[in-house]
Amino acid sequence: MSTRRLVLFILLHVVIIVGAIVMFFPFLWTIITSITPGASLTSTPALIPANPSLGAYGRLFTERPFGQVILNSILLAAITTVVQLVTSSTAAYAFSRLPFRGRTLVFGLYLATMMIPLQVLIVPLFVELKTFGLIDSYLGALLPTFASAFGIFLLRQAINQVPVELDEAATLDGAGHFRTFWSIIVPNIRPALATLVVFSFMSSWNSFLWPLIVLRSPELQTLPIALAGLQGQYISDWDVIMAGSVVSVLPILAIYIFAQRYVVQGVASSGIK
């Protein structure tokens, strides 16, 4: 290795590592604040807390129903994810493998739904679900999340890259479309499916506005809403607010670590072409 390359090599590492520290610091600071009792707007916590304590976490689960709130969020995110896997993969199969008249137009309409801000829909959606009697119920929170144009787009790109010869071989063996879909397509798009699991779970876990409007009862609340509530109630108890933040990041972090290698692959295989 020449000196010039060595210098570049070291420089690259320094930049990347310093960058990673800067990126991670807000999380570290969150954790430090959460274990510093009495962290508030009037005092900055020390980098190494003098009397670290998990008291703020205790207060989350005793003063607030955080156990219940976490279970609610897990339930909603799990249902959304499973349903989106089904609706996205079947639609993606149709858009990739089942030609029909007006398909391009229908696909265009699907994609257009990605460009509609949720806020545009809020009022009519609220009135609609009220008519069905679904306000303040999980079904009301869930129904609008059942189909995802993003998921369909992602999976269609993945299915497009599965060689058609595989389908043709299956057809020759007498397999119909459902069979081909289930035993040829699904196994071949696993990375994209894993990517969708992460994105679906994440978007449900983090969704704020719609659950805020639909779920009225405290016992139905999800994490982001409970967190926003913390900001109101513990206005200067930053340790409690940051403890809530840590708790809400952990499950999603676990899912991400589990699926990480697929996420990059999934985006790569979608080719975005």
Partner: protein, 299 residues
Amino acid sequence: MTTVRVGRRRTKTKYALTVLAFLLPSAIPLLLFVLGPMVAALWVSLTKWNLLSPAQFVGLDNYVKLLSDPTTGAVFLHTLYYIAGYLPLVYIGGLALALALNTALKGRAFLRGIYFLPVVTSWIVVALVWRWLLSPSTGIVNVVLGWIGIHGPGWWTDPAWAMPSIILASSWKDLGFVMVILLAGLQAIPTDMYDAAKVDGAGWWRRLFSVTLPLLSPSTFFVIVISLINGFQVFDQVYAMTGGGPNGASEVVVEQIYDLTFRYGRAGDASALSWMLFIVILAVTLIQVRGQRRWVNYG
């Protein structure tokens, strides 16, 4: 003859049913909960309605009123300000990261994980954390700035610094997403292209501009399209960090839609503004799709 025709019709029907079976699970929710409400919103935009008493048809009045209201111009300007700050920051940052992490580096997966962490974090958490980091008197950023003798600004409490605070937090959150997409694009570039460029004596910068960027253009296109679609709809972070304040300094379009609906009970105006925003987003996206032939290289 007839039997053949009947048979063909039967297979045709069967095929149509198959297509429907694959499409309906997604088509029904999209129709009922996205396209339906959207059309309904178009109707609401032609009425005067406070969500409680019956709606009154007023034609295009809401649109005319909005177009002559200086607030409308202001909220669109704030949204453009956000996009103008955010997009270059995440793209250049994301590109630099992707280029760096595409080299043979130890612990690449771990580093990628760290950069991606903010992407999976909810906006409420990010907003809470950044409000705390950027807290004017005790926030760590101003404390550190104080060490080197800089008197930090009031960040989200200062009208001039509210939007930069939101841009900073947003870029931090989305950098990892842009990085992953560009990384995927970089990995699709065949290495022999670089070898050929090296043989021709092209240096690092030259290779970046003549090989990497042109071949990365589909990914760049995707990042720009998605970022603009999302950028025009920026809301969660504004709502959680500043609520559009102080003094409306960071009031963006969607924040205004939200306020019109839920604060002032002006559902008609809110729906009209929503439709204006949707048309802007659609136009911007179509212009990009049309223009992509000029610079996007699909190899």
